[in-house]
Amino acid sequence: MKNLKTPDDLDIYKKSLEAKRRTDTTRIFICATGCKALGAEEVCRAFKDEIAKQSLAGKIEIIETGCQGLCTRAPVLTIEPLGIFYGRVTETDVPEIISRTIQKGENIDRLCYSEAGKRIPYVRDIPFYSKQKKIVLKNCGSINPRNIDEYILRDGYAAFAKVLTDMTPDKVVNEIKNSGLRGRGGAGYPTGLKWESVRKAHGDIKYVVCNGDEGDPGAFMDRAVLEGDPHAVIEGMLIGAYAIGAKKGFIYVRAEYPIAVEHLKIAIEQARNLGLLGENILGTSFSFDLEIKMGAGAFVCGEETALIASIEGKRGMPRPRPPYPATSGIWGKPTNINNVETFANVPVIFLNGSGWYKTIGTESSKGTKIFALAGNVKNTGLVEVPMGTTLREIVYDIGGGIPGRKKFKAAQMGGPSGGCVPAQHLDLPIDYETVKAVGAIMGSGGLIVMDDSTSMVEIARYFMEFCQDESCGKCVPCRIGTKRMLDILTRITQGQGKQEDIKLLKELAEVTKTASLCGLGQTAANPVLSTIQYFSDEYEEAIHKKETQTSQHNPPKPE
């Protein structure tokens, strides 16, 4: 691989790759990340063996990709240029796919996606895909994330080269401000404003941090982006570093994501070899390099001050703000922390312009949002939709609705900091403000669908158990507030509820919310409050039923 010496070199390199690219091959894209769990590796191997056996090397190309989204059909593959999507593929299907689909152009019905008894072989006709708008996920599932050339062929690093040649750091900050991009990690703080304050902060040394500590149960957007398109995150970080004046960056990734760490390592190494990371990038005076930091299993480290403590090698406990990391972050230096998805949005904004980006989404929330759709829904998977898409469109049109003869009851949005959105809000156009108005939060994008067999009191108890376990114990309201709320919720679910419990829960929730030090405690009561708001009858019922329940259930477990 050669070292690129000027921004023009990148373009020349891309053209040389284009010239080498074969256009007459059939390409089979196989998800080799999430789908691994259900046998994707075996399928890949079977294809390679078969290709060797039949000497089809120049005719069929296997591309191991990141997540293609429709995880429920895992292991999945897409065949181009035919545009065919197959799911639940096993090794034994491989010879038939080659002989029938690739060589004769026939569809294999049993592998096709089906809806309402109809087989849909083509990607473009599958509602799960056709209703989405892929901006951030445009490469995810259609390139090999372990090969930088494939990213460059898709205009990768072109936005960064453009920024480096044509734009001053101030102009970069303004472009992001103008795009309306807001933090995708949950709180929705305007990214441009954050960049501006770090840019203006005093100090020679500044840091850029990518927060990939995706800890919300039920969220896997960041995992998919890091695994499927790691260079997009690196490019976003490069642009951010240039804008704020940082030479060093960290990517903090959860330890539970080994494939993401592996792909990032490869991506960083390849970017260094090409001269896209390191000293005097593309022959300019701009230098920047990246280091991966692996989390060690603490949910609270997703909070930015806790994350900083963890990078510094300490117990990952939050501290009061101000000072904000923008002025005093890692080792007391100005630090810009953005989420994985936020960084992945950056290159496309510079490629197409903030004017274009602003046309997508709602008045207050621009662009798209990736959701991890899971729970009691037919099409579990990864979806990207414009802000303002309704919950109904996500759950029914894209998600295919609720399996079995069950009914939609609620969607849990925003994980343990979020809330349950009931059926009456199905037509709510989703953006940061609307979701908050109905008692949930956008959060990082976990969206768990619950059917009518789910007990909402039990869900509230479940999230409280999670928050209580993950509470770092530094501040009293969170440490004790979550514990007391958990005690009450456990009591109610075990048929020991008391009449005054609902009032007590609300009171405790209010105190924990207002008095806790960081986001974990401030939002820990949200699942309780939203379930009380929409499903108070279930609480009442659980409390009143206690006589009958106690006789049915086991006695409460001793602490």
């Binding site: 930091k293 090698g313 729970g375 579990t380 768990i448 993950e470």
Partner: protein, 165 residues
């Protein structure tokens, strides 16, 4: 955050061989406190847990007091001061798994292995721990044994899987 007190048995534990630890430390000559977590992660990978005499070696080399190192270790759930089983079972207790039956899977594991969450079987074959979310909700309910995923579990399937090890 679960705190893991050092038990009396800790003190009587055999000394671990320091060779692997010295190899790891040799690679980080200019180690600062920021390198502590990565060093501990490598030590745990190499030994399966964090033996006390190895920690004493680290404290001498990186000049971080043992008390501080202990503070870091007990904060993060990834670290273990106790020897662990040959196989680690991680049961996902994320939201999607929870509503699709993870509590029954947990009950089954306890029933089959006679250990609670966070414990290791007497023969050091299995360590069983719940994990907040594996990020593979489409496999719900799911567990991992070492690096291998087992998805769409039922209690019967869980028992079979455990018995296959």
């Amino acid at each position: 955050m679960m705190h893991k007190p050092v038990t009396a048995s800790e003190k009587s534990k055999p000394m671990a061989d320091l060779t692997k630890c010295r190899d790891i430390l040799a690679k980080c000559t200019s180690a600062t406190s920021a390198d502590l977590i990565p060093i501990l992660q490598q030590i745990q990978d190499a030994y399966g847990y964090l033996p006390q005499n190895v920690l004493e070696e680290i404290t001498a080399r990186v000049r971080i007091p043992l008390s501080k190192i202990y503070g870091v270790i007990t904060f993060y759930s990834q670290f273990s001061l106790e020897p662990r089983g040959k196989h680690t079972i991680k049961v996902c207790v994320g939201t999607a798994c929870h509503i699709k039956g993870a509590p029954d899977i947990k009950k089954k594991i306890t029933e089959v292995l006679h250990i609670q969450e966070g414990e290791t079987t007497k023969d050091y074959k299995f360590t069983y721990e719940p994990v907040a979310c594996l990020g593979t909700c489409f496999l719900a309910p799911v567990m991992m044994v070492n690096e291998r995923y087992y998805g769409k579990l039922t209690t019967e399937k869980t028992e079979q899987i455990l018995k296959s090890y």
